[in-house]
Structures are given as C-alpha cells and as structure tokens.
C-alpha cells in the first residue's frame, strides 16, 4: 500500500499480509490465469491439469453455461449457442462485426448500442460472455490459492481502443473481479521477458494472437519498462488466417458462400488443424464435408498456404515500421525481437518478422503463457506485496483522441503514443444567448474525417449558467488514466460552475446497464453476495487502518500538529470499532470520513515524497 511504500528505507513498517492478486490473459482463442506464489509467477491449472482455458462459452437451455474445453467441443454442433472468439466482438458495434467477421451469430436488433447475440438461454452481449470466461478463471484462482483475491490485472491488446478497454473492464466487474489495472499485452510480455533475462535496452514485442495484432517498442532500464511506441490491428490474427484457408477449402470443394454456421465452424476447425500441421509438415491432407454429405478430399501445401496468408502477414509489417518511426529509432536500434501469441508459431510469420527486423526473433519463451505471467507479476506489485520493488511500467495511448469539429472533421487532442496518464483541456463557448447545454463528440483514430475514426462517446454538458452568446467559457478536461480509459470533466470558468456531463458511449454499456446486470447476477446468490461484500469491506477497512497506523508511526509527528493528529486518531478508532460490525454502508462511510480527515496529511506526505525524489539535485546549482 502506498502509505507504506513512501516510508524511509530501513524504518520499521508494520508487517502486512501477502495479498492474493492474479494476472489474466483473456485471449481470443484461449485464456489463462497466473499468480505469484513464493516469489515465482506461474500459470494456474484446472482440476484436469490444463492451463489453457479455451475462450468458448456455450449457453444451455436451462440457463446454465459451459466454459472451456466442453464448450469448444460443441462449437460446431451447437454453433448458435456456442460463442467463440468473443474478444473480437468486445466494444464493437454491429456494423463492425458484419464487416469483419465470417459466419457470425444471430444478432438481436435492439436500440442499445451493444449488439446482443441470441441464444437458447437468452440474449447476451460480448461483455457478459467474456464475464463467464473470467468467472471460471477467478474461481480457479480462488480454489488454487485458497483465499479471496484482492485484485486482478487484466491484459488487453495494446491496440484496443477505449471502447474495447472499457468493455473488458466491465466484463471483469461483472465477473466479480477488482481490476487493479488493464495492462497492455505486449507490455506484460516485456515484463515477463525483461525480468527473466535481466535485459536492458530496446526491445520489440511482436504479438500476433488469435484475433489481435500488436507491436510495441519498449526501452528497458533497470526495472522501468517504458513503451516508446505501439501499433497494431485489433481485428487481425490467427482466426483471419483460418478464414482465408477455410475460404480456399470452400472454393476447392465447391461450397457456396451461404454455408450454415455449423459448416463454417467445421471448416474453420479443419483450417486451423491444417495450419497447425503445416508448422512441421510440408503438406497436409484435408477433408471437407459438403452439405449433401459428400466429401471433398485434397491437399494443402505450405507454399499454397503462404500465398493465402502472405498479404495478412504483410499487414503486420507496416505497423512495425510505424511503431519504429513513432519511437524515433531505426531497425538497427532494436536489440531483441520477442514473439508472443500462438500465431507466431507459424513459420512464415517468423520468417517475415526476421526479414523486417534483420535479426532472428526470440522464440524460446512460451508464447501462450508469457502475457498471463507478466500480468501476474504486475498484479503482485500493484497489490503492494513488494514495497521495495522498483518495477515501473510507463505505457502509451495507442490511437489519437480527437473531437468532432465543423464540417465533420476531427481535431486531434491527444496524439497516439503519448505516455499515459495524460490530460488535455480545451475551452469552448456558447453560440446562442442563454444556452445551457452543449454536446461534444469524442473520437479515436488517425484519420481526418469523423466517419473514418471510431466514435467513442458523445458527452452532453449541462447546467451551463445562461449568458449571452460567446460569454461562457467552458473548460473541458479530457483525462486518460493509466488503464487508457477516458474521463471527461467540465467547468464554466467565469462562474466556476461545474457542468454536469452525461455520457452516451457509442459502443459500450452505460453505467446503469452494468449496475442492472450486476444486480441480476447477484440475485441468484444474494446471501452469498452479502457476506462476501461485508468481508470485502472489512478487509478494505483493515487495510486502511493498517496503512494509516503505520504511516502515523513513521511520520505522524512530522506532518501533523497535535490537534490534527487527535482528530485523525479519533476517526481512526471510530473506524476500528465500526469495522467489527456488520453494516457494509456504515463501514464505507467510516472509511470515507477517515480519508477526509486525513486528506491534508496524505497530501503533505505525497508532496514530501516528491521533494525527496527531487532532492540531491537542487535547482539552484544549475542556475548560478
């Protein structure tokens, strides 16, 4: 905990419990959970000893769900109720999905912005499907680790836009996880790799998964992982290779484009099998069943597959070039290229990456597990288990953020590859007398026109004090936090009035919808949830108490006068008393009250720790 961390080295701090934290790789094809145990980060297996959980969810008629291998086995036979590659649907609108996906589901037309898939168990959104996968991983971790989790780090593709990140975080919330951080997958891989190899210098992470592609250029410097640039494509991966191969099968076998879902799933399965076989073999024989039950048998050679997928691999090379340029370095500056993601097993991918970076990529780390392991290492640090840890991750925003201006143009507000957290303020004025509201359209992307960028949200500013046109000065601040998520605040400057903001996400759930889903999922096990909630709140209370006591012991006298300290001690003992009770709300309030009482103290401590960081380099020495 931070209050502990900023104490002077060597000073005694209260011993604290090891907090259980996990890292999750929520992949397009497979998902994993990892945790640091006895100093070692490792992925956790299920009862059958399997580490990889296929990211497949099957909805059953009785309302229950099957997740993982069993669901995967039913993917072709029960195609409409079995959701595969749901990651590709996260934070996406129905038109994106229709444009990009091959043989997708029966979508329900609804007025909400989030597409829902029709299943026998009801209509589900991508967020809910992902939450089912996350729940299984959470339960696996709780069972293996034997206690409640304090939090999780969820890895997301670096190139995920804000809507996709928000959707992932919402899914984690639905799954009952406390999200400590959304961590970019290539950064997670760099952490696992960098700490393992004790590497320093510039590395490139080439991460080609089942449905997403990222490339990140990082500078590693004594535990600091600084992302210099990232680029990618959030709808490009091994699935797309499978689609191209499946299309070729269809052509060869004379199967028309209107193949049904079950047939497409079988084609995809066969395509994947062929692709994997060609990692070792030069040719593979394939068999595809037509609708009339006749079978086409043929052969796929490596060179034909290369012809099919080369354009796709080439699509990963221009982002590599862009990332290098954005990082301001040349190919020769890259000291190591690390391959991540199952699709980097395809030999052709390795060849092409080697040709571009002019060095053989590193393939000796397990491309499937490295992201989860990196996420677990960061989760352990974030949970506060390593107060002396120097590891620090400095990441960037992958796509520029902009605002819609006159004529459907986008004005860039924050450029891609800016280090997060970042904030930008912009002033607006009213154009009508007495105007009390205005709307701001936020977009993400590199293109100039609104229709070519991705719409994130429309923010309506309300409660602007009525004035003559042009007199109001509304300062709108766009803050991107360390998760890459956007938060917008607004204030009218001449009156100081805080504007109320209503957010209408373009492709996400509104807060109310999430709350509703959370309530629904809790109703099934209300008592269970209640006791869980109380326990969580008490743990939180204990944490606050422990941290504050330790802080007071360290430097209470330094930063507080007697009266201030008395007030703090008073509300501290109040919390200690209430925390033993059973009223969740009361505990919450007591924590809030204590934090309010401490606010000046906390600020002084933080300021002083920054001063300490700056000390030894007095400003004056440069100026004389």
């Amino acid at each position: 905990m931070a209050l502990l961390q900023i104490s002077e080295p060597g000073q005694a701090t209260a011993p604290h419990q090891h907090r259980l934290a996990i890292g999750i790789d929520l992949g397009t094809t497979n998902s994993l959970v990892a945790s640091v145990r006895s100093g070692l980060a490792e992925t956790l297996a299920d009862d059958a000893g399997q580490h990889l959980l296929p990211s497949v969810v099957r909805y059953m008629e009785n309302g229950s769900t099957l997740v993982g291998q069993l669901a995967k086995e039913a993917a072709a036979d029960d195609a409409m109720n079995t959701i595969v590659s749901v990651k590709r649907l996260m934070g996406r609108g129905i038109e994106d999905i229709r444009k990009n996906e091959f043989g997708s589901y029966e979508f329900v037309e609804q007025d909400t912005t989030v597409p829902r898939i029709h299943t026998v168990a009801g209509d589900v959104s991508a967020i809910e499907v992902s939450a089912e996968i996350l729940k299984v991983l959470r339960e696996r971790a709780e069972k293996t680790l034997g206690d409640e989790l304090s939090g999780a780090v969820i890895a997301v593709p670096a190139y995920f836009d804000e809507a996709q990140r928000q959707a992932t975080k919402d899914a984690a919330r639905l799954a009952g996880l406390n999200v400590l951080r959304l961590l970019n997958e290539p950064t997670a891989a760099a952490v696992a790799y960098g700490l393992d190899k004790k590497a320093d210098g510039i590395i490139a992470i080439y991460d080609l998964g089942g449905g997403t592609f990222d490339v990140s250029i990082l500078r590693l410097n004594r535990g600091v992982f600084e992302v210099m640039a990232t680029a990618g494509d959030s709808a490009l991966g091994g699935d797309d290779m499978d689609m191209l191969i499946a299309r070729w099968f269809m052509q060869q076998a004379g199967i028309s484009d209107d193949a049904d879902h079950a047939q497409i799933r079988r084609l995809m399965r066969e395509a994947r099998r062929a692709k994997e076989a060609l990692t070792e073999a030069e040719t593979v024989s394939v068999a595809v069943e037509r609708k009339d039950a006749s079978v086409w048998q043929g052969e796929l050679t490596r060179s034909v597959m290369h012809e099919l997928i080369d354009a796709l691999i080439k699509k990963t090379i221009s982002p590599c070039r862009r990332a290098l340029r954005d990082a301001g370095i040349a190919v020769g500056d890259v000291e190591e290229v690390v391959m991540v993601g199952g699709s980097t097993r395809v030999p052709r991918v390795r060849e092409q990456v080697e040709a571009f970076f002019k060095r053989p990529p590193l393939v000796d780390i397990d491309p499937d597990k490295v992201v989860a392991v990196g996420a677990a290492i960061q989760a352990d640090v974030l949970a506060g288990n390593k107060p002396d840890e120097e590891m620090l991750l400095l990441d960037v925003i992958p796509l520029s953020l902009g605002l819609e201006t006159m004529g459907g143009l986008v004005e860039k507000l924050i450029n891609r590859n800016t280090t997060i957290p970042v904030a930008r303020a912009q002033e607006f004025t009213t154009y009508k007398d007495g105007q009390t509201a205005m709307s701001i359209h936020v977009l993400q992307g590199e293109r100039e026109m609104v229709q070519d960028c991705r719409s994130l949200a429309r923010f309506s500013l309300r409660d602007i004090p009525p004035m003559v046109a042009g007199a109001a000065r509304i300062r709108v601040t766009f803050q991107v936090d360390a998760d890459g998520l956007l938060n917008v605040t607004a204030q009218e400057l001449t009156s100081g009035v805080q504007s109320r903001i209503e957010v209408k996400p373009s492709y996400g759930l509104e807060d109310a919808e999430i709350e509703h889903m959370l309530r629904d999922s809790m109703e099934h096990a209300k008592d269970d949830m209640d006791s869980r909630k109380l326990r969580e709140q008490q743990v939180e209370g204990e944490r606050v108490i422990e941290a504050l006591q330790s802080a007071l012991q360290t430097d209470g006298d330094q930063y507080l006068d007697k009266a201030e300290r008395e007030l703090i001690e008073q509300s501290l003992s109040e919390l200690q008393k209430i925390n033993l009770g059973e009223d969740v709300e009361e505990i919450k309030d007591a924590i809030k009250h204590l934090e309010k009482t401490c606010s000046a103290y906390v600020e002084r401590r933080m300021n002083s720790s920054i001063q300490n960081a700056m000390s030894g380099h007095s400003v004056e020495e440069f100026e004389s």
Binding site: A2, A383, K412, T418, E446, R447, D481, Q611, A613, E623
Partner: protein
C-alpha cells in the same frame, strides 16, 4: 516546502532553463519522479491518493512531453521569456521555405500514383523529419542568444516548424488511410 504544480517544467525536472536539454538527465529524473507518484504505486490506496497520484503523474508526463519535443520546448521557453502566442497565423514570407512546402505538398498529392504508395508516403515522412531536424538546429542557435532580435527570429522559426509538423501529421493521416486500404 511543498511540491508546486505551478513551478515551470525545467524546475520540476531540475534541469537548466535552456533549449539544449540533456536527454539522459531528463529521462533519469523523469523515472525518479514517476517512481514516486505513478498510479501503479497507489493501486490499492484511498481515492484521494489515487486522484493526487493521477494528477501528479499526468503533470510530470506533460512536462516530459514538452521538454522532450524541440518544437514544444521552444514554444514553452519563448513563453517563459515573455513571448505571447496569439493564435492568429503569422504569414511567412520566406520564399525558399514556401517553395519547399509546395514541393512536399506536391509529392504528397502524387503518392497514390507511386508503385508502392505506403513506402512513398513513409519516405516523405522521413524527409519531413530530416527537415524538422535541420530547422531544430537553426532554432537552437537562435534560442541560445539573449538578443531580442533573435527572439523574434526564433518565434518565426517556431512557426515554420509548426507548418512542418502539420505537414507531417497530414502525411501520417494519409499513411493510415493507405494502410487501411491494404
């Protein structure tokens, strides 16, 4: 003494107020500061601490962005020296510069006719980058002098670099478009 968000970025990073910046020292200090304030250090802290941490880390990132980028740094430095940046556009009357701009624009508009348009636009960006670097060196010379006349020249030089920067972002936008079409 308390940490002052209003002190200038040079002081925040403890480096001399000058256009020439020791990038190594800057980065070193940047890492030291973020080690202390970054939100990752406060993931399980109170809401207030998380808010402060976000605010400080954002401020330090902004400082680094300004000090690292020559154009931003020059603007900032000139502002500290009392130069006012009005948003009205000063017309540039440097024929050589204008000619160069026109040529760049022309080659940008002809990119699609090249055999490998993505490569062609990448070349233009590299070219613009080189011109930006050259102009940065000119700017550096002007900013080292305390001569008021040179401050005006520096202001003009900054304008030129803004044009180049705009050209670069247009080229990048075109590149994104071409890559989308692949």
């Amino acid at each position: 003494m308390s940490f002052d968000l209003s002190s200038d970025y040079f002081h925040l990073f403890g480096i001399p107020v000058s256009f020439s910046v020791d990038t190594g020292a800057l980065m070193q200090r940047y890492r030291e500061l973020q080690q202390v304030v970054h939100p990752d250090r406060f993931a399980t802290s109170s809401e207030q601490e998380r808010r402060l941490s976000l605010q400080y880390a954002t401020h330090i990132n902004e400082g680094l962005r300004v000090l690292k980028d020559p154009l931003e740094r020059a603007r900032y430095l000139l502002q500290l020296k009392g130069v006012q940046w009005d948003d009205e556009q000063t017309t540039l009357s440097d024929p050589e510069f204008l000619m160069q701009q026109m040529e760049l624009r022309e080659s940008l508009s002809e990119v699609r006719e090249q055999s490998d348009p993505v490569e062609a636009v990448a070349d233009i960006i590299t070219n613009v980058d080189a011109i930006i670097q050259e102009n940065t060196r000119l700017l550096e010379g002007l900013l080292q002098s305390e001569d008021l006349d040179n401050l005006d020249k520096a202001k003009l030089q900054v304008r030129k670099m803004q044009f180049l920067q705009k050209m670069k972002s247009e080229a990048e936008s075109l590149e994104a478009k071409l890559e989308d079409e692949l």
